[in-house]
């Protein structure tokens, strides 16, 4: 008898325990399903159609959009350019912030002020960064060209030259992101147990010796993290190129996302091929992300 009384009460409680959490989750879940999950599947569908803005009926064309990419020279150019940008930026992005963080961490004067000076460019939008550097690198009246001329160097017209346009974009990018990675390195440096460094000092290790044998090995997971974050971001480079070169000269800086933009959102708005390219990019980024996931797991184990 007692059992039959308590049963409905418990199921009423259970009912509440299921509904209440979903009331809190509701707004997010609806938005998440509509603007994250659905577009992912919808995008995959678009990539196998001949979708075009304003076209009344779209037909499924199978993998035609993907196979067409293989024979599209501009797509290949954009892949090569994106890879070049990513690689050219990797060494400075890995090295410069690390160097700054190590020196800052050794206790130099005006630490906060210096840290802010390096970090500030990271708060700017890519548009602002691009505009500032386009002006600095102006081939006729820009200050960089002027001062280089003064010391006897006569550089090519930077953004107007197929050889220097990409390095110039890399330079602007490195300038803006260095502070961000520096802060990540600083956090990692502060997590290094002081006892380890003291033990190394007791064993007679000098400054650089203890850096190479204690600090550097402990920083390796963070360096890997920085490289992966950098690669994921660099594979999607767009805004700074849009502002500085629009992909030129002669497609020398045409990136993958810039090409997606040109195909999908300019001219005849060919959304099918643009979606196919997005998926190719997604697969590339996903592979990098998987490595990141493994790194995180290994870090957790360590």
């Amino acid at each position: 008898m007692a059992k039959s009384i308590s049963l409905p009460r418990r199921s009423a409680l259970d009912w509440k325990a299921v509904v209440v959490p979903y009331l809190y989750l509701g707004p997010f879940l609806v938005l998440f399903l509509v603007f994250r999950v659905y577009p992912l599947l919808y995008g995959l569908y678009i990539s196998v159609t001949n979708a075009q803005l304003g076209r009344m009926s779209t037909a499924i064309v199978g993998f035609q959009n993907y196979s067409a990419l293989l024979s599209d020279p501009r797509f290949q150019t954009s892949v090569v350019n994106t890879a070049t940008f990513t690689l050219e930026a990797t060494i400075p992005v890995l090295g410069v912030p690390l160097l700054l963080a190590v020196v800052l961490n050794r206790g130099v004067a005006l630490r906060t002020l210096l840290r802010s000076a390096f970090f500030f460019p990271f708060t700017l939008s890519v548009v602002t960064v691009g505009l500032i550097w386009a002006w600095l690198l102006d081939p006729l009246v820009g200050p960089i060209t002027f001062y280089l001329n003064r010391v006897g160097i006569f550089p090519p017209p930077w953004l107007g030259d197929t050889h220097t346009a990409m390095p110039a974009i890399v330079l602007a990018t490195v300038w803006s992101v260095t502070g961000y990675y520096m802060v990540i390195y600083l956090a990692a440096l502060q997590d290094i147990p002081q006892q380890l460094l003291e033990a190394a000092a007791l064993d007679g290790a000098g400054g650089w010796q203890s850096f190479w044998s204690v600090t550097f090995p402990l920083l390796r997971p963070v360096m890997l993290f920085v490289v992966i974050i950098h690669i994921i971001g660099a594979l999607q480079v767009f805004g700074i190129i849009f502002v500085m070169t629009k992909g030129g000269p002669a497609d020398a800086t045409l990136s993958l996302v810039q090409y997606i933009y040109l195909i999908g959102f300019q001219g005849s708005f060919r959304l099918g091929p643009a979606a196919a390219m997005s998926w190719v990019l997604f697969v590339a980024i996903f592979v990098v992300s998987l490595i990141q996931f493994r790194v995180f797991r290994d870090q957790a184990e360590y």
Partner: protein
């Protein structure tokens, strides 16, 4: 550190620690200072350019102190006679960034609460979907999102800017982790006193989380303020342009070498975050360490 080394009870002034550090590492401090100055020059050059009269902008050798000092470049970009209206773009950017920030905080906190504090069927599926979506870069979705927004008839509207950003997987993940780090004893006590889940959320969890909410607010504000690709694609009406979009098109509105107005625009768009940065330096730096999760 300086207190440890000094005589007990005698606290050296902060300045003397600085001087001692320079004394101890003169080369390193000097080198880093020089590099920091170099790093500041591009921003400074933008500011200096924006305060010059047009002829002096093109003077060689470069003039580093604007003489005569003028605000005419700012007056030019805020007047409506050109094809871009920076004043209107400023308003649009403020609306986009502020509304997104407030709503992202609210929606993320509501969703993070049950994920951190309740047991219910489907919780793990929801949580891992959110974590999984952190690995999906935003750029992948622009084509289908564009078609969705187009179908909804939202082109060139505030809702097209704001609404797709509100499903912030990063926000939910970030706040869930923070909520988990808070001790649950207080909640148990409140529950015994008859508080329901809403009381606990609004009177206990939220007040305890102001630091985390502040960090998320700053990050969200920065992302939407500087957002470029999405606004560029869905805004095709001049009057709806946000600052980054309007700035990127200033080059076409004037000529590519109209550096005066362009740099004035660059300074205007940099100011709000500079202000936030000066006021909440530490929170930004703390937040940035975690933001690697958002790609």
């Amino acid at each position: 550190m300086s207190q440890v080394q000094s005589v007990p009870g005698v606290t050296p002034a902060k300045g003397s620690a600085t001087i001692r550090r320079i004394g101890r590492r003169p080369l390193l401090s000097g080198l880093l200072l020089a590099l920091a100055v170099l790093w500041t020059l591009p921003s400074l050059w933008a500011l200096v350019t924006s305060l010059k009269q047009t002829p002096s902008i093109f003077k060689l050798p470069p003039v580093w102190i604007p003489a005569p000092f003028t605000i005419e470049q700012y007056v030019a970009i805020f007047s409506n006679d050109r094809s871009t209206d920076i004043g209107r773009a400023l308003i649009n950017s403020v609306v986009y960034a502020v509304v997104s920030t407030v709503l992202v905080i609210l929606i993320s906190a509501l969703a993070a609460y049950p994920l951190a504090r309740m047991k219910f069927p489907g919780r793990d599926v929801v949580f891992w979907s959110i974590v999984g979506s952190l690995m999906v870069p935003g750029v992948i979705n622009i084509v289908p999102l564009y078609l969705l927004v187009y179908t909804l008839g939202w082109m060139s509207t505030y809702q097209a800017l704001v609404v797709p950003q509100l499903a912030s997987a990063f926000g939910v993940f970030f706040l869930r982790q923070f909520f988990l780090s808070l001790p649950s004893e207080l909640e148990d006590a409140a529950r015994i006193d008859g508080a329901n889940s809403w009381d606990i959320f609004t009177r206990l969890l939220m007040p305890l989380s102001t630091a985390a909410l502040g960090t998320l607010a700053i990050l969200t504000f920065q992302w939407s303020w500087n957002d470029f690709t999405w606004p560029l694609i869905i805004l095709n009406q001049q009057s709806m342009f946000t600052l980054p979009v309007a700035l990127s098109l200033l080059q076409t509105a004037y000529s590519a070498t109209s550096y005066g107005p362009i740099m004035a625009g660059a300074v205007v768009s940099a100011l709000p975050l500079l202000l936030v940065f000066l006021l909440a330096n530490r929170q930004i730096v703390e937040g940035v360490k975690l933001s690697g999760l958002k790609t």
